[in-house]
């Protein structure tokens, strides 16, 4: 199996789906001639031209709405946000139009549209450019929210997202673009809404998604050295949430730590932590712990920035806490 980057996996997914279905197009800032601010769309403009790969002005609200209108009438747009920090300007279009159009029309329209781009802090970018905003979207019915953490998942899930007839928020990560992994040469898709065990273990379930998977994986290795076998549940899709896989894991381990790099309040992390607390009440040997980003805007200084994020250390400590190891 070839080893490719997360970036290349996304590019392949878009390329294959554009080749497969002429109604798929890509719009966003710098996606065409510049090949994407993070080069995710490299080569697509060369291959598909002005019609199907479109640079837009810097008008997130406007071009998100344009994507929605196009999706309501038969196209299958992929709308790239240069980063999800800027998607807040499009949130009204996404929450009030994309997520509700089908419902309020009594099912008359489908909205096959993907909003994608990097989410979450990269490094040294300060507060306006370092936000993990999955909760804003996961809160809202009418959307699907996907947040893959490996090249394999990214490719298979993006292909499914593009084929899905619902609005899908597809969150990537600046720092993840360079991550590498095995991706089969043959075509494949992965179903939305299924979590994946990235590691099995019987001592504790660590539930996460997106970039913190790396932190969690490192933490699991460190724990293993101390004789603690962590199971890693990678949610992959945040809405709809795969509650069955979560439950199965905690049923086995009886202990759970959730790791989410966003702010703690009203986060995907705290929601999952409540779900586990509620659904596995009789099984839990310890309270469900949440390792989240600190509850502050992100500072520029890197030492502070790292302190504001989930770390291997914090995950290890949370695991020890649920195991009642000091």
């Amino acid at each position: 199996m070839p080893t490719i980057s997360y970036r290349e996996a996304l590019r392949q997914a878009m390329d294959e789906e554009m080749a497969r279905d002429e109604r798929v197009l890509l719009i966003g800032e710098e996606v065409a001639q510049y090949n994407g601010a993070y080069k995710v769309s490299r080569g697509l403009w060369d291959k598909y031209g002005d019609r199907r790969v479109r640079d837009t002005p810097i008008t997130e609200g406007g071009f998100a709405g344009i994507g929605i209108g196009a999706a309501m009438t038969g196209l299958r747009p992929i709308v790239e946000f240069m980063t999800f920090n800027f998607s807040i300007q499009a949130l009204d279009q996404i929450i009030n139009n994309a997520a509700k159009m089908r419902y309020m029309s009594g099912g008359q329209f489908t909205l096959p549209i993907v909003f994608r781009g990097p989410n979450g802090p990269a490094a040294y970018l300060s507060s306006q450019h370092s936000q993990a905003l999955a909760a804003l979207f996961t809160h809202c019915p009418g959307l699907k929210v996907v947040h893959p953490a490996t090249p394999y998942d990214a490719k298979g899930l993006l292909k499914s997202a593009i084929r899905d007839d619902n609005p899908v928020i597809f969150m990537e990560g600046e720092l993840m673009y360079a991550w590498e992994g095995d991706v089969p040469e043959e075509e494949y898709t992965l179903p939305l809404g299924q979590a994946d065990l990235k590691r099995t273990g019987q001592d504790v379930s660590i539930i996460t998604f997106g970039k913190p998977l790396q932190t969690v994986t490192e933490a699991a290795a460190r724990l293993e050295a101390e004789g603690i076998a962590a199971e890693i549940v990678d949610l992959r899709t945040l809405r709809p949430l795969d509650q069955a896989t979560i439950r199965q894991s905690v049923q086995k381990t009886n202990r759970c730590v959730v790791v989410d790099e966003s702010w703690p309040m009203c986060s995907v992390g705290s929601h999952v932590a409540w779900l586990v607390s509620n659904q596995c009440f009789d099984l839990l040997d310890a309270p469900v712990e949440l390792v989240s980003g600190e509850d502050v805007p992100m500072p520029y200084n890197h030492t502070l920035e790292l302190a504001a994020l989930p770390s291997v250390e914090k995950v290890v400590q949370a695991v020890k806490a649920v195991l009642y190891l000091k």
Binding site: T59, I66, G69, M72, S105
Partner: protein, 325 residues
């Protein structure tokens, strides 16, 4: 390539009159039914403004063209040819409503007739309509989008963002500002730095013009021309159609912010009366014809009420339907 342009549609005054009467009587009936508590929530009536949707949409060919409106959408829904029955049923929140009782007054839709709502967020439909223009261009169809929005909506950033892109990409969209003089209780002059909105077209290198919205034939003419430009040259336009609403913003608004005199003055320019007079001058309509047409409109609306009344409530299970495909 685009198909060779078909002939612009000649207006059919009789049909225009029928549509305007149907809208007028539908709105009056809806208002009455609201009083009887058969309808609740917001109800934004189109009385006085009938000529705008009627004249504009009659200029379109809904086999290929599209219509996008805001929440004051009953007139547009009737003008695209929707049956009053599922519309009244929607107001009654019945399962036979056009949106299965989930949308209500602000959310009329008819995918088959290319009517895309019905949007409750001021200005939010403008980018959506622009996106429909993109699909037409993308699929090389020769359709055009009519995008309706209010005098209040034009200040929204969405307007600016949309018109720039429409011109840049040459999308076949006709932007129609229905200037009924008020956004809720606010005279449009109180929230705008200019009073001739058609001038805003200059920022996007687009043709812009003001149109008398009480004269359905003038509306038809202006929109026909704009549709022609959009269809043949992929050139968007901005039309400011001046109109007036006779009733409050929504049914709960007593509209004390304007004088009786002002209202009376505008009622003298009633779009139905103007067309009726015109047709009578042209000897294409007798007083009896008019009465008959009006009676037909009233009957259709009465039937719609009966239909709505007798329709079932949506089943509780439908609460969870239509969220996702």
């Amino acid at each position: 390539m685009k198909a060779p342009a078909r002939q612009a549609k000649e207006p059919d005054p009789l049909q225009l009159l029928k549509t305007m009467l149907l809208i007028r009587r539908f709105e009056e009936k809806a208002s009455q039914q609201y009083g009887l508590r058969k309808i609740s929530g917001f109800l934004h009536l189109y009385i006085g403004e009938e000529a705008v949707a009627t004249g504009a949409i009659a200029a379109a060919d809904l086999n290929r063209d599209y219509v996008v409106a805001a929440y004051r959408d009953h007139g547009h829904a009737l003008a695209v040819g929707m049956d009053p029955k599922p519309l009244m049923a929607e107001l009654f929140a019945k399962s036979t409503g056009c949106s299965r009782g989930k949308g209500g007054s602000m959310h009329f839709f008819d995918a088959d007739r290319h009517f895309l709502g019905g949007n409750g967020i001021v200005g939010a439909q403008i980018p959506v309509a622009t996106g429909v223009g993109l699909k037409l261009k993308y699929l090389d169809e020769d359709g055009v989008v009519l995008c309706f929005f209010g005098d209040g909506a034009i200040h929204q950033g969405a307007f600016h963002e949309s018109l720039n892109l429409a011109r840049l990409w040459n999308l076949p969209v006709v932007y129609i500002c229905e200037n009924n003089q008020y956004g809720m209780g606010t005279d449009f002059r109180r929230v705008s730095s200019i009073t001739d909105y058609s001038k805003m077209a200059g920022s996007y290198d687009l043709p812009g013009s003001q149109v008398d919205g009480m004269d359905v034939l003038a509306v038809h003419q202006a929109v026909s021309e704009a549709i022609g430009r959009a269809r043949r040259e992929a050139l968007p336009s901005l039309l400011e159609i001046k109109t007036y609403r006779y009733v409050g913003h929504s049914i709960s608004d007593p509209a004390t912010y304007r004088s009786k005199e002002e209202l009376q003055q505008h009622k003298q320019q009633d779009p139905i009366l103007i067309l009726k007079n015109h047709m009578q001058e042209e000897h294409t309509l007798s007083e009896d014809d008019f009465k008959k047409l009006d009676a037909e409109a009233k009957a259709a609306v009465q039937e719609a009420v009966a239909f709505a009344e007798s329709s079932p409530e949506p089943d509780l299970s439908t609460l969870y339907e239509d969220v996702l495909v």
